[in-house]
Amino acid sequence: MTAERTLAPAGEAGDADTAIRVRGLRRAYGAHRAVDGLDLDVRRGEIFALLGPNGAGKTTTTEILEGYRSRDAGEVAVLGVDPARAGARWRARIGIVLQESADVSGLTVRESVRHFAHYYPKPRDPDEVIEAVGLTDRRDTRAGALSGGQRRRLDVALGILGGPELLFLDEPTTGFDPEARRRFWALIVGLRAAGTTILLTTHYLDEAEHLADRVGVIRAGRVVDVDTPERLGGRHLARSVLRWRDAEGAHELATAEPTADVARLAARFGGEIPELTVTRPSLEDVYLDLIGAW
């Protein structure tokens, strides 16, 4: 978890501290403004999760950052370079893990990792990367015969092979079982520990909460809030809900001072408060609030 990390609010950081800087990004498809004046800062070394409903502009934004798509307006610097004009040297510094890929299916894990290593000026050792993603015992299996989770780990292997400074992860754990997801998260946390900046897009709020140092919420082509998972949408200031039970039945109390209220209740019961729960608004609650889903 991220509770012990000290994080200053987003500011105007210099290039040395900033992996991604976006100002006033716009991209329209015909009359539809998919990205409509978007600002974004991702610091070096952090895991930044981009959340937002389908159609909010997440994919268009990340594909512009990855150098796949053109933009209509705005400033974009990824590792200090404009992706629209970036070349091979810049591509050697980033890693991209695409959503649901089906390529290299005729190659084994080892063949594909070894092949892609040719593209990078300073590739990591292929066998070491295969080991890092936990595919060593599947290295001679063709990609087309891997399970969904194994296939995604191969995608990650190909994404981190060049030793990227910045890794894009697009909905990496869709379709994973809970255990595979936990293992995958550990892999990603390990990458951050090694200094890799990660831009994660996901639909899973527990994933964002578990992994992300900061979360940005996109709605209608703009970033509507950026903060740590604990503080997003004023979550830390919001009222908590106390629930307990006594002879009269179940009770519920919304309060801005849960600690004082719990102390008062404990004094009244002279010890344990029956069936006590203290609930702060979940990330999902504030997220749904931010995207206007209520």
Partner: protein, 264 residues
Amino acid sequence: MSTSTATIVAARTRLELKMFVRHREQMAVTFAMPVLLLVLLALIGGGTVDGTGVAESRVHAAGMIAVGIVSAGFQGLALAVAAERRDGTLKRLRGTPMPPVAYLLGKIAQVIVVSLVQVALLLVVGVIGLDLTLPHDPTRWLTFAWVFVLGVTVATLLGLAASGLMRKGANGALIILPFTALQFVSGVFVAPGGLPHGVQRFAAVFPLKWLTQGMRSVFLPDSFRAVEPAGSWELGRVALVLAAWGVVALVVWIRTFRWIENER
């Protein structure tokens, strides 16, 4: 080209060939089709071309060599690259530092190898079964070499250019139909002199007629020149028309090539 680019081209070539060999059914069809057509044509026909004494099957053999090149290069690549765009191969490549020229050269190398095997198969069948004789004159083999390399390059570039026209969900018939139609008017099945003038003029716009003619100049006796449309092999024009198509295809490829499927 830097050494690292050369290494990447070599790696891409190995990969393309590996993938080609692993698609066994596709490989079998690719190699069997022209050979099968050649044999069937020999079984049906079997006469000589009027006024030349040259067996029609030898005309067909030269034609099938040209068709083999174009089907491996143009048809094969247009479909394969469209499939690579659909399954995310191209998107992944675009996200790596691989130079795009390495992708192009890997494809050309793959088509060269596949076409060489194809030509060898056709020549073996032709020599054993269809009284085709291999030329002894080294200048003819020299002609074969440049017509072959030029033909493969043009076919590959056309295939890459055409792949851009294959929008999401487009049918392969879009590529296969015009190519098949072109074979009938380009002197593959019928000696070109026997075709109506309008048809000859139409076919002369496209590269297949010139590639076929170039191959006839290698494998047919000079006496056959009498029934060629211009009364000669027109090798200069073969080079010119093929090169022109190559340049056009290269420009179209560079201007229309998309790495991702749904750039709206």
